[in-house]
Every structure is written in C-alpha cells, then in structure tokens.
C-alpha cells in the first residue's frame, strides 16, 4: 500500500538549534513529495515541494530515492516555526495527496 511515514509525533528543540523532521515514503515509480504546514488557528498550507527545490522560510528538503526519504531541515529554528508539519506524496499518475500522520514541532525560547 502507498504510505507516508513520519516517525515522530512530537519534536521539541530550542530556538537557534537545527531541526530535522523525518519523512519516509513507500512507493514505486516517481512520486511527487511535499511538506504542508499548519500554524495555530490557520489552515493547512503548502510549505515546499521537491520539484521546485526552493528554500521557504529557511526550510529545505531533499528527496533521497535510495532511502525513500524526504526529510525537512532548517539550520536555525525560530519560535514562529512552531506548528504541525505534514509530509505528503502524490503517487505517480495521480493528483490526490497521501499524508503522513504529522509532526508537531515546538520551538522553545
């Protein structure tokens, strides 16, 4: 079955520390990978997608096909990064998103 796994439900780091949110996927073919974020009292929104290879709000994510991973990283965490983060994938040839269970990131001052 097509699956996206985020092994950490909760992640807490101090402000200024590096942060890495893990995501693994199990697909064949060439899926498209995304990170969505939900800040407190806001709607779910796209943070970044692997095909754009952008850095958004200091976050980057590299697709590692060998390890089937798409980890989200930021070198220096900020308090405003506290949010719920979801890794998602669009299976090859499909439009729907398959989401992981999410990781709640808390940045401590």
């Amino acid at each position: 079955a097509q699956r996206v796994t985020q092994p950490e439900k909760l992640l807490s780091v101090f402000k200024g520390a590096p942060v890495e949110l893990k995501c693994n996927y199990s697909y064949s073919g060439s899926p498209e990978l995304f990170w969505y974020v939900q800040y407190s009292r806001q709607r779910l929104q796209l943070l970044l997608r692997h095909i754009s290879r952008e850095s958004i709000k200091g976050f980057t994510a590299d697709l590692n096909k060998g390890e089937t991973s798409f980890h989200l990283k930021k070198p220096f965490a900020q308090e405003e990064d506290s949010a719920m983060y979801y890794c998602a994938s669009t299976p090859s040839g499909a439009q729907k998103l398959v989401f992981g269970q999410g990781t709640r990131l808390t940045i401590n001052p």
């Binding site: 996206v4 439900k9 498209e32 995304f34 709607r43 779910l44 929104q45 796209l46 997608r49 979801y86 998602a88 669009t90 499909a94 439009q95 729907k96 998103l97 398959v98 989401f99 992981g100 269970q101 999410g102």
Partner: protein, 112 residues
C-alpha cells in the same frame, strides 16, 4: 484571491442523524477534494472531483457518505446516518495544478 470557503465551521449531532457540509473552491480551480482528518492523524482523501465528475472515491464509505459537485463549482458532502467514528475535521481543498492544493478552514464534526 479569496480562499476556499467551508461551512459550517462546527457541527455537533447525535449518532444516526444526518449532516451536510458545503465547500466553495477558489474560482477557476477545476479539481476539488474532500478529506477527513481524525484527531492525531493526517488528512485522508474521501473523494476527488474534476469539474463535476468523480475522479477518485475509493475511500468514501458509500453506504453512508455521499458527495456532489453540481455545475463543477460548489460541493456538498453528506453523512447519513452518522456514526461516532465519523467525528473528525472535514477539509475541502481545490487545485488548478497537480499538488498545489489550497485548503479551506475545515468543518469540525462531533458525533455524540
């Protein structure tokens, strides 16, 4: 541009009752999605429309859930009759391109 609109924002019903949710997508977005998000889990796709046709409803419990998108714009999702396990946030999203989905604020359903 205006975002995806959903109503109501909250709904409390008793089991076996019926409920309906409404979604208005971003103007011009051909694809509309309904997701169910149970507490502690990621969103799960229930149904996907392309204009007013169904693309994927493989995870929609068709014995109690139904959805329509008349005229390829607004959409309604109905549950009849509701069960306790239907308590969740129901998210509507729309997109123009693959993967660029824009989400509404969601409807939080509580079934007592």
């Amino acid at each position: 541009e205006a975002g995806v609109a959903q109503s109501p924002r909250y709904k409390i019903i008793e089991k076996r009752q019926s409920v309906a949710f409404w979604c208005n997508p971003i103007s011009g977005h051909a694809t509309l999605y309904w997701y169910q998000q149970i507490l502690g889990q990621g969103p799960k796709l229930l149904i996907q429309f392309q204009n007013n046709g169904v693309v994927d409803d493989s995870q929609l419990p068709k014995d109690r859930f139904s959805a329509e998108r008349l005229k390829g714009v607004d959409s309604t999702l109905k549950i009849q009759p509701a069960k306790l396990e239907d308590s969740a946030v129901y998210l509507c999203a729309s997109s123009w391109t693959i993967g660029e989905q824009f989400f509404g604020p969601g409807t939080r359903l509580t079934v007592l």
